[in-house]
């Protein structure tokens, strides 16, 4: 081993441990701003919903206290049934969206030239760029009794009487959800498919795996984290966006979002907070399950 004297290090002061200066400490503070902002105005309010949900309700607002009345109101009323039912319909929407939308993501990834892929996916941004409210409202003149769909079908002679089941029914809610959120399954599916290397398709052809085997054994496991994220997004928004059942559903069609909004209109804030807290718990539960099943950190891989 070459000794320090061989390489001319005599005469220098001894090495001291490093102490960071104030300037060093401050130079990186700016990067914390977004984190602090999100914690302060997102994480904190969401966490506080649990606290506020046990406050006592007053005429116009609420009082600090501890009361489980809000939860009672929720769990021991028709609200719970409606909530669970809306979860069921949301689930149906997720499945339908997946079946309709995911093949598109696979197709774009497989058969569209690399450079054009992002542009094709951008096409699916177009509907999303139009306010979701307007898209929902715009479905009324289309699905109504005398709307576009019925008019066309009648004119084509395919039906004798207008279909009324498309609007103001649960079917209408599902249609609304699928049409609103399908672009997301295409995005999420596309991002998820980045985890599937392009040569997989050729390898599968080589090995003689048909499209079904290819899907279940290769694509699904690799793309699972992204698909799950997209599914959670649709599911949570399906039970959370109040306007969809409000406009598309019949009387009594509610989801959690509508319950919360109605609660606010009725000035029952603890109830609204309780619903929010329950939604948060549902979301956390779903994400936790997903993480255990799929290791959701893999979604981040394309972005690194």
């Amino acid at each position: 081993m070459t000794a320090p004297t061989d390489i001319g290090l005599d005469g220098l002061p001894p090495v001291e441990p490093y102490r960071p200066t104030l300037r060093d400490r401050l130079s990186g503070w700016a990067f914390w701003i977004p984190i602090v902002f999100m914690v302060l105005f997102f994480a904190l309010p969401m966490a506080l919903t649990v606290v506020f949900s046990v406050f006592e309700r007053t005429m116009f607002w609420m009082e600090p206290g501890f009361s489980l009345l809000a939860y009672e109101n929720f769990f021991f009323s028709a609200r719970l049934e409606n909530f669970l039912a809306s979860m069921g319909y949301s689930l149906i929407s997720v499945v339908v969206s997946f079946c309709l939308g995911f093949p598109i993501a696979v197709f774009v990834r497989k058969s569209v030239p690399q450079a054009a892929q992002h542009r094709v996916v951008l096409l699916f941004i177009l509907p999303f760029m139009v306010s979701e409210i307007i898209r929902i409202f715009a479905l009324r003149p289309v699905l109504q009794r005398n709307g576009l769909v019925n008019e066309t079908l009648l004119n084509l002679g395919l039906i004798d009487e207008p279909i009324t089941a498309l609007l103001y029914t649960h079917t209408g809610v599902i249609i609304g959800e699928v049409l609103s959120f399908m672009p997301f399954i295409v995005f999420a599916g596309f991002l998820a498919m980045e985890a599937v290397p392009k040569f997989i398709f050729e390898v599968c052809d080589d090995l003689g795996a048909g499209p079904v085997r290819r899907f279940t054994d290769v694509i699904l496991p690799l793309a699972a984290p992204g698909i799950f994220a997209g599914a959670v997004f649709i599911f949570v928004n399906g039970i959370g966006v109040a306007l969809i059942p409000n406009i598309m559903g019949g009387p009594g069609a509610v989801n959690a979002g509508l319950i919360a909004t109605q609660a606010i209109t009725a000035l029952d804030f603890p109830l609204a907070m309780a619903v929010s807290a329950i939604m948060m718990a549902t979301l956390m539960g779903l994400l936790y399950i997903g993480h255990r099943l799929f290791d959701l950190t893999k979604i981040l891989a394309p972005m690194n």
Binding site: T2, G8, L9, L12, V15, Y18, D24
Partner: protein, 364 residues
């Protein structure tokens, strides 16, 4: 620049990433005007060391001194170093001239001066007339020249090069290697060059430092590293050495006896404090090993081993004969030049031998 100070000094430099130690208490001194090469296997720490000298990594402990000043925690823009990267480091949205002049314009020099200096430097690296091109219109070699111009125009006295030729193909690498050497001789500043390619290292270097596993293994001029390696690792990395190991059976004065495969080998002690019974390593360069047919009688001169011939590999300039010893260890004998003699049949008994002094002793 004070001629008494070495240009670069690194003292007890360590760098940790979590539990991984990239650099382990490295001590190094580089003289002003020297072409110094950091050679080593990938992931061994040579790039980490270079980048720490440049200011792109903060040391976990230890110091960096440049031109006699401590700079350990200064950012790269405050250090007297300039840097050339492996690839993709030119600014694609600027022309060649813009790239070269960028550092000068940051220093707020007058535009005319920036222009003059940039053009002069472009001429020095052989790219006169390329000022208005864009990086994506240049070949790999041309891009590296622009990087050199951009770094040298800053008139700093230490240039860091991080595997500058790795992205070029073999022939181009050889040409540019020599050009780098000439450039350094012309400009006269300290160059610190990182590479894993031995030939490149030996072409350009005044001194080479071998960095592996985060440690400085050995350093010295190319000739010393190649011919007279001190450490076993050096012998295994530089050149094509045969490595043998055994337990010392006798030490008499300057002669050490180590049996290998049952046959005693004698080697010069070189002043190392070996003791009987210690396990040591022995190395001999394959070009100093001669393969001869076995003649039955085994001479006990300590300068040869018996084995069986396996195969030969013809590489144009050299031919390597591979011989297997009794315990399966392989010894290679490299021969330079043409020979029309037919290769022996595999399995033939042969001897490998060398002249006194060719075998080197390494302690563990």
């Amino acid at each position: 620049m004070n001629a008494n100070h070495p240009a670069v000094q690194v003292r007890q430099l360590s760098k940790n990433y979590g539990s991984v130690q990239a650099l382990k208490s490295v001590d190094l001194s580089i003289a002003a005007g020297e072409y110094f090469v950091l050679l080593g296997p990938s992931g061994g720490g040579k790039t980490t060391l270079l980048r720490t000298i440049g200011g792109f990594h903060k040391p976990s402990s230890g110091q960096v001194w440049l031109n006699g000043q401590e700079v350990s925690h200064l950012p790269p823009d405050k250090r007297p170093t300039a840097m050339v990267f492996q690839a993709y480091a030119l600014f694609p949205h600027m022309t060649v001239l813009g790239n070269v002049g960028y550092g000068l314009s940051l220093a707020k020099l007058p535009k005319a001066e920036v222009l003059d200096k940039s053009l002069a430097m472009l001429e020095m690296v052989g790219l006169k007339g390329y000022e208005d091109r864009r990086p994506n219109e240049l070949s790999g070699g041309q891009q590296q020249r622009v990087q050199l111009a951009r770094a040298l125009v800053l008139d700093r006295n230490i240039l860091l090069l991080d595997e500058p030729l790795a992205a070029l193909d073999a022939q181009l690498r050889k040409d540019m290697c020599l050009e780098l050497k000439h450039l350094q001789e012309k400009v006269g500043i300290t160059f610190i060059h990182v590479t894993h390619n031995q030939e490149e290292a030996m072409t350009v270097a005044d001194r080479i430092a071998l960095i592996a596993n985060g440690e400085l293994v050995e350093h010295g001029p190319a000739r010393a590293i190649y011919r007279t390696p001190e450490r076993r690792f050096t012998a295994s990395f530089v050149g094509e050495n045969n490595l043998l190991s055994g337990s010392v059976s006798a030490v008499e004065g300057e002669t050490v006896t180590v049996p290998v495969c049952g046959q005693p080998l004698t080697v010069d002690r070189r002043g190392l404090p070996v003791r009987v019974g210690e396990t040591v390593a022995l190395s001999v360069r394959s070009e100093l090993v001669e393969m001869v047919p076995a003649d039955g009688a085994e001479p006990v001169d300590g300068l040869s081993l018996a084995g069986t011939y396996t195969e030969s590999v013809y590489l144009g300039l050299t031919q390597s004969h591979r011989v297997a010893l009794a315990d399966g260890t392989e010894v290679v004998s490299r021969v330079v030049g043409e020979s029309d003699a037919p290769d022996p049949t595999p399995g033939t008994a042969v001897r490998v031998r060398w002249k006194p002094g060719a075998l080197r002793l390494h302690m563990n």
